[in-house]
Symmetry: C4
């Protein structure tokens, strides 16, 4: 597998700066293996979740009226912490601009800007919307998931299954459009909420995914029959992507699967993806 | 595997005409490998989706009143484009009638006719219904999916699983009918919407597929107990077809699976279903 | 695997009588391989479905008022046909009483009795309920599924997975009871429908199976949080039985599954298809 | 596999006392293999379920008013039986305190305390809540499931899949938070129930798990489009954990899976976990 294929390739290219303190800091802030690195991750996760919680609770009218001041204080403390963290990240990497324009660098900036912008547009109506942008900080949770080895196996299996799932989704898309239109023609005059085709297609999606709000539902016998077909169809088609993905996951981890390793010493192929020694000649595979 | 078994067999028999320009056009219009062929596919996909979107939005009363003229103009431009495309397809194939009566030929005609028919029956009440037929154009999306190799693997696995799924579905069918009748006997007098057996069977389908609109739901304690059984049953039985299909997908892609090929030259068995050359002796398997 | 384990063992013991015409009739009525046997099956399936349809439509007040006579006529024709079929079955089997008390013999009798009983209790109130019993005929559909080889594979995999699924279900049962009680304590005073524990447990089942009628739903913030946990739990636990059943289906058809080798020396079964020595007694399998 | 890895390790360390009658009682009360041990288990299961049923029915106002006395009688009989059982357990184990502070010992105490506490606080308002605690007895059902071998396989597969599922869940968590916020911004002014972000996130959970109560649903066209995306996302992502768990279950039970044995004589790996002889060279594996 080439490096270009790994999902985290863009961020893997973030390198520590040359100075010894840069390497040390980098190990703590970007690393996950060392003890301080793990502690840093856990604290960061806690602050992110607290930050998201504050934004969510702030939107509740009664809580905002009573604890508004506390929310503001917590918000500013968190913003200062995130600002320090951002500066520390910039200080210890080799090419700071490269980090700024990486995915997580942009997430960092989006996490900080809304609070600072709030200072200038304090009275504006759009303030609530801008403040809500701070919720995008939740994506920073993915930072911690990124280096987990399992995430890569997942991404690889998903990417391999994608072409088949695309074919499957185009069939589902056609079914939804056609069934939505049919129910519109059947139920359109019954005043049961199927007022136009987009609404009927929305109903078809609600039904085929088995969500079933019940805000719109057929009332005529023929409409109910069509609805029953849509439901059974939705119930049936979920098996297709599940089977595809299961098969992909299984063949990936099996000896002989797509993600199998090969031994450079004896040339044996089809070794298990997590094998550390060649099962034919016993040579270590870790040098790879 | 015989050619007759492949799902796209009927359209594979569409051949280019003898003239050089026919071969060239055919490669663009029917082919997917060359660069112009791919561009043609992408443009076609865009026009199809635009066409479907226009039909859907036209059904929204407020939009039709305001942008009706624009919708008509776009509709006519699209219809002309599709007409030209249809004529081009007829021009470059060997036996035009064969294409006309193929599945996608008929879809092409159904895509065009409603707009032209609209000219003659402009004032008719059934116009809306006829115009809606243009939505069937969405099936043309499948044209692009057709040649994707993955679609065949899917179809093969589905067809192999079909006998088992039929057995499973007949059990589900019996359960739905019997449980729908039982709930009708229990809840029929409670004025909770279970007015007759067909409605109760409709409720059983809504519940067993876990859609759960809530338009009809049991109110008596006994009815709720039966409903709980129906729900748990629906939750449980989804695992059966999922397991069947997963197992089929997996055994199909494994060396040694049901769909495995064998080499006629060296006798090697258990070759991957999509192998083009024998992995033991290198002989091409395509002559099969 | 012993014969006693096969699901259709009880009916396999139904044997044709000694006379030649008995054998010939038996082949048509009970058999599925010969051409007349298949035609008989298809006609029978059609009559069963028509019969079920009539019972269902009869329960619709407006249809019963208008087409009541027709329904009665069709009903009597079908009953006579089923009576003749039942007598023919009795005539051609070796021990008729054995058939009468088999599962499908009892289904046959239950299919016929309600109509004949209707003659004597024509004015009774319970007539409607008795007539509904005719819907049990739908189980005769299973007659056709019974001999399909696939049904056995399904039954075997289900029976093998059963112990694990029982463990899983007892965990689900405990979760439903406890979560239903918790939501009752939290929402009980909010007048949102959680009036007693059985109703709250019913809600927990509706939610954990992702049916979600919406007739009862939490209104307090704490209740909503608990509901969210129930939902995510229901969404998560569906993967367990699905995985179990998929794994069973796959291992059944793989080396080590049912199609595996058996050792002639010690009688060990389930050996890998590529095994060269018996893994129980060590005897070479190559002589096989 | 080390003992520390088995899920029931803490309770396996409960040993019978030295006296012969202690060993005999221990076999009946804690054992599951002997005939009296099995009978004891079945009776215990029945009493537990009866006890849970009584607590549930007691919460129904009308039933409590009419049969309140009966419920109290049954409750006290059950409590006495459970008290005797608890004392018998303490009498026959080697170190009674060790049992008291084990998981099931604590469940036993929690099962008994509420009834006795009810004697002292008979008039208290919080009585209903305390009595409800008796429902925790339902966890005793797990006692019977504990020794079933299948439960361990399940636990092991779940624990192995856990890291991947955590990654998956953090992606789902981020999606829910972001989509809930987006729908709040879009629908917040439409008075359709999306009053604050926590409520909107609750809606996102209701929708992504395909529960779909319908108590809150989008009314604006843009909101419906976002809802459709949430539904399709929920429908799609269920395949990921299902595939992960299926793959884990399958690789666990396969020769070559994580639980496979290896031959020390010839080095062959991937032997079935229950193999007694190497299938490649025939050497006994029992010396391991």
């Amino acid at each position: 597998m080439k490096a270009a294929e790994t999902p985290a390739a863009d961020t893997n290219s973030i390198q520590p700066g040359p100075a010894p303190w840069q390497r040390a800091w980098f190990g703590v802030i970007f690393g996950h293996e060392s003890r301080p690195g793990k502690h840093f991750d856990v604290v960061l996760l806690g602050v992110i979740l607290l930050s998201v919680l504050v934004v969510m609770l702030e939107s509740v009218g009664s809580l905002a009226a009573r604890y508004g001041l506390w929310f503001d204080v917590i918000e500013w403390v968190i913003t200062l912490l995130f600002s320090l963290e951002f500066l520390a990240r910039l200080a210890c990497v080799h090419r700071p601009w490269r980090y700024v324009f990486s995915f997580f660098g942009l997430v960092d900036i989006v996490s900080l800007l809304p609070t600072y912008l709030g200072l200038y547009y304090a009275g504006a109506d759009s303030l609530a919307t801008i403040r809500t942008l701070r919720l995008l900080r939740v994506f920073r949770v993915l930072k911690l998931a990124r280096h987990v080895r399992e995430a890569r196996g997942l991404m690889i299996a998903l990417r391999r299954t994608w072409p088949k799932i695309t074919v499957f989704l185009s069939v589902v898309f056609c079914s939804i459009v056609v069934l939505g239109t049919v129910i519109y023609l059947v139920e359109g005059d019954a005043n049961s909420g199927f007022d136009d085709i987009p609404t009927s297609v929305y109903w078809a999606i609600v039904t085929i995914t088995t969500v079933g709000y019940g805000d719109i539902h057929p009332v005529t016998p023929l409409g109910k029959m069509i609805a029953a077909i849509v439901m059974l169809l939705g119930y049936a088609i979920i098996i297709v992507p599940t089977g595809l993905f299961s098969a992909q996951m299984i063949s990936d981890r099996q000896p002989g699967g797509d993600a199998a390793k090969a031994c450079r010493a004896c040339g044996a192929t089809g070794l298990a993806a997590d094998a550390r020694f060649c099962q034919s000649c016993g040579v270590s595979l870790d040098t790879e």
